[in-house]
Symmetry: C2
Subunit: 78 residues, 2 copies
């Protein structure tokens, strides 16, 4: 079974670069990558927060939130 990897972003330039560089580099044979734009999918901000996301862009692999560079704090998306 593939491990779920969720890439949360908000469309910012830092987010887009991280998505292009990192989200696409994840091994598709082992991971199921979902890209979530929290600016448009505001109903998923609470989910991201619950999973430990403090800022975007962030990649949550399994239970571990990884914050990549810094685009915007999660609080700015509420």
């Amino acid at each position: 079974m593939k491990t779920k990897a969720t890439f949360y972003h908000a469309g910012c330039p830092v987010c887009v670069e991280a998505e292009q560089q990192l989200a696409r580099a994840i091994d598709p044979a082992r991971f199921e990558v979902e890209v979530v734009h929290l600016g448009t999918a505001k109903n998923r901000v609470a989910e991201a927060e619950k999973r430990g996301v403090k800022s975007v862009p962030a990649l949550v692999i399994g239970d571990a939130p990884l914050h990549i560079n810094f685009g915007a704090p999660l609080s700015a998306l509420k």
Copy 2:
């Protein structure tokens, strides 16, 4: 030809977690991942700095430095 991806770290707990979660998730079919411990390979700190690394852990894919969470500033490793 595979794209080179370099994961710079310093052995800190944040670094180790990022390595386990992220560096191992990179697609080995498309990327050649090298893990560099800057605490022991001090001669490569200048290289990391030149590639835009400000803190560890960081992953440099091609020309893009991606800082993941925050373990230590690069200045602490000089």
